[in-house]
């Protein structure tokens, strides 16, 4: 065991862990951060979109040296069937602002940079060190961690669990439940490398402008899921994710889905001729508000994906991770400055502060959405996209059929597929969940 004691140990150097370690170190606490990957970011997978506001709260001048890919000026939503997509497209020059709001990033690079800031702030950062279990005293209080290094037990007043979606440490120590298959999605992602000019031409971009496409529809074979395409400087990140429970049920393979997505006539031309470099798979917590586990206890708090803090509807995760990491650190700092012990009661301050933030408020707002989409997945991800696509085709194809006739046929096809009550029911439920 290591003699030296720390004020706090942060497990994981993802978005949440880095935010927590940075904040703790900035406040002058003695912090040890442990990461199993070769470096911060080496194992992390994300689309990825970075939300500037939450990062500004941690590193106000991050734009000066952070490895950012493109700032987003455009967002596209596609509803896809097998041969077509119906799209919504929002682009505004307002996004070409001095301090852009959203960026695409490559996590491996971004996290490395983020980690260097954590080091600079004074935290001790150890990579290639896996925390194998929490060290607990006779009363079950968390007093530190055990690692896979020789003589690798280290103690601290509080442990911040930022270990990502699996949440193994917490479950192993019986502090919380294991995430359920219908609360996590499995996403697979590839990086397609293309010359910069090609990307800019294909996505209609100039300079560092960027765009993202979010896609849903029959590509997920009736499962609850979404595809995405993000333009980076010299590569396109592309992927698709579906609920683990759906994969189990349907026997579809993630890679099969991805292949189909890539060969879709709307997607294939965007990545034609590219060189694929990375293939990765990662879980995303999608259970929303109802899946949030216990967030604090005797000597521990949990943040980020490990706490299931993820807004699946808006594809936000890293911002919730950063914010929860920061808030946990601030709560710990407050307890510490009062010279109070890191008891469950004192650490409940974290939960209180989190409840007041956008993190919990947003998740509450959509609390019924995951369930709705899950139960109705056939309709939302198979039937509607096909119907909408057919309707659009009928609308734009000029073939001598009278327009009223066309409208009637379209409407009939909707009703036939879903029945009036079904249609209204879906619309109502959707609106309720969104509200």
């Amino acid at each position: 065991m290591i003699e030296e004691r720390f004020d706090a140990i942060v497990v994981g150097a993802g978005m949440a862990g880095n935010a927590a370690a940075l904040t703790l170190a900035q406040r002058g606490l003695k912090v040890l951060q442990l990461e199993r990957g070769e470096y911060s970011g080496s194992k992390n997978v994300q689309g990825a979109i970075l939300y500037a506001d939450m990062l500004e709260k941690l590193i106000p001048d991050f734009r000066e040296d952070a490895p950012l890919e493109r700032h987003l000026v455009e967002q596209r939503f596609w509803m896809m069937d097998d041969r077509a997509h119906v799209g919504l497209h929002y682009r505004s020059d307002d996004f070409n602002e001095e301090r852009p709001n959203r960026y695409t990033i490559i996590r491996a690079q971004f996290d490395k940079w983020f980690s260097s800031k954590v080091r600079e702030a004074g935290a001790t950062v150890l990579c290639e060190t896996t925390v194998t279990e929490l060290a607990q005293d006779a009363y079950g209080r968390v007093i530190g961690v055990r690692t896979d290094r020789h003589d690798g037990e280290v103690h601290a007043d509080v442990v911040v669990l930022a270990e990502g979606v699996n949440g193994l440490l917490g479950t192993r120590a019986d502090l919380r439940e294991r995430p359920k298959p219908d609360n996590v999605a499995l996403a697979v992602k590839e990086m397609h490398f293309l010359p910069r000019e090609t990307i800019e031409a294909r996505f209609n971009l100039k300079g560092d402008e960027g765009t993202v496409i979010e896609a849903a529809g029959t590509i997920s074979r009736g499962m609850t899921g979404m595809g995405f395409i993000y333009a980076n400087k010299e590569c396109v990140s592309l992927g698709i994710g579906c609920l683990v429970a759906d994969f189990q049920k349907t026997g579809e393979t993630p890679y099969g889905l991805l292949e189909r997505f890539k060969s879709h006539p709307s997607v294939a031309p965007l990545i034609e001729g590219s060189e694929v470099k990375e293939y990765s798979a990662h879980l995303i917590p999608e259970g929303g508000y109802n899946a949030i586990p216990q967030l604090y206890g005797e000597g521990w708090v949990v943040v980020g994906d490990a706490a299931q803090l993820n807004n699946a509807i808006h594809r936000e995760g890293s911002n919730l991770a950063m914010t929860s990491g920061r808030i946990a650190a601030e709560a710990i700092f407050q307890v510490k400055s009062r010279k109070d012990p890191m008891t469950k009661e004192n650490l409940s301050l974290y939960k209180k502060m989190l409840d007041d933030s956008f993190v919990i408020k947003d998740l509450k707002k959509y609390k019924d959405m995951p369930q709705l989409l899950h139960i109705q997945s056939q309709n939302f991800f198979l039937t509607y996209p096909q119907l909408v696509s057919k309707a659009m085709q009928s609308f734009v194809r000029v073939d001598g059929t009278p327009k009223t006739e066309k409208e009637k046929t379209t409407l009939r096809s909707f009703v036939k597929a879903r029945s009036w009550t079904g249609l209204f029911g879906d619309a109502y439920r959707f609106a309720r969940a969104w509200r």
Partner: protein
């Protein structure tokens, strides 16, 4: 005993891609690693230190980011790390590299005690020349043992060392005098996993950083691009084969028969040769 180990930070060549249009290396996102061959040298050095006492200094010449590799070497248990970094070193070929490294090793000797052994890896995976080790030895007028598979008796009083050196067709058992330079063969040991205390020490260690001037470089013209007699004139992608493999369509035939037919059709003389070659039936 003082041992210096030269390590190099290299791009992980398994992950390098070439820009399809411009034929340049796309470095974006390509992770860097310690040259895998150097880990065998480092482990050999650490084992000697553990047995005979003393210190291991790791040395690298590279960009400021090479600090990561040095820190990692400290995690494995090295005692000290020196980063030789200066824009004057950029673009060095093996001759210029050995000049800079030899100069730095002299300075390390002056500062921390004369080294008894200098270790390098057999070769790097980016430069891939296996020449830097022998070059350093020559510059420092040291005896060199290359392709060493095992280090045998080391006598610090008599200042002799024995080693098994791989040569073509066998193993030479050599004895030479200290100080000497050893290039370590791959797969001769396995790098240890540093203990928690080493990892903690490494995370907080200050890496010694030397510019050309700090290291005592007298003639900047012998460094980097200027000090390199070799010049890379052209870089190009390996010419792709004009056609892809002809795929055997075995139809109703057995695939094995179909394949053999095809092989002998393409290489008519081969069958007779194979009959002579083949021994067992």
């Amino acid at each position: 005993m003082h041992i210096v180990v030269c390590i190099k930070q290299v791009p992980d060549s398994a992950q390098i891609r070439v820009h399809p249009v411009t034929n340049t290396i796309m470095r974006q996102g390509v992770p860097t690693i310690i040259n895998p061959y150097d880990l065998f040298a480092l482990e050999a050095a650490l084992e000697l230190r553990d047995k005979f006492g003393g210190e291991v200094t790791v040395l690298t010449m590279g960009p400021p980011s090479a600090e990561d590799s040095l820190r990692k070497a400290l995690t494995f248990g090295a005692d000290r790390a020196v980063l030789l970094t200066d824009r004057f070193f950029a673009g060095a070929d093996t001759l210029a590299t050995t000049y800079a490294l030899a100069t730095a090793i002299r300075k390390i000797g002056d500062t921390y005690g004369a080294p008894d052994i200098i270790f390098t890896g057999k070769q790097t995976i980016d430069g891939d020349t296996a020449q830097v080790g022998p070059g350093i030895a020559k510059r420092l007028d040291l005896l060199q043992l290359t392709y060493v598979a095992r280090i045998g008796a080391l006598d610090l009083d008599a200042r002799t060392i024995e080693a098994e050196r791989r040569s073509e067709g066998g193993v030479q058992i050599l004895r030479t005098r200290l100080p000497c330079l050893i290039t370590m063969l791959e797969a001769t040991n396995e790098i240890r996993r540093g203990a928690m205390k080493d990892a903690l020490r490494a995370a907080r260690a200050t890496i010694v950083k030397w510019s050309a001037q700090d290291a005592g470089v007298e003639d900047i013209a012998k460094c980097g691009l200027r000090g390199s007699p070799t010049i890379v004139k052209k870089v190009f992608a390996p010419p792709p084969r004009a056609e892809k493999a002809a795929l055997i369509d075995f139809g109703s035939r057995s695939p094995a028969e179909a394949l053999i037919e095809d092989i002998f059709k393409r290489q008519p003389k081969l069958e007779a040769e194979l009959v002579t070659l083949a021994r067992g039936f």
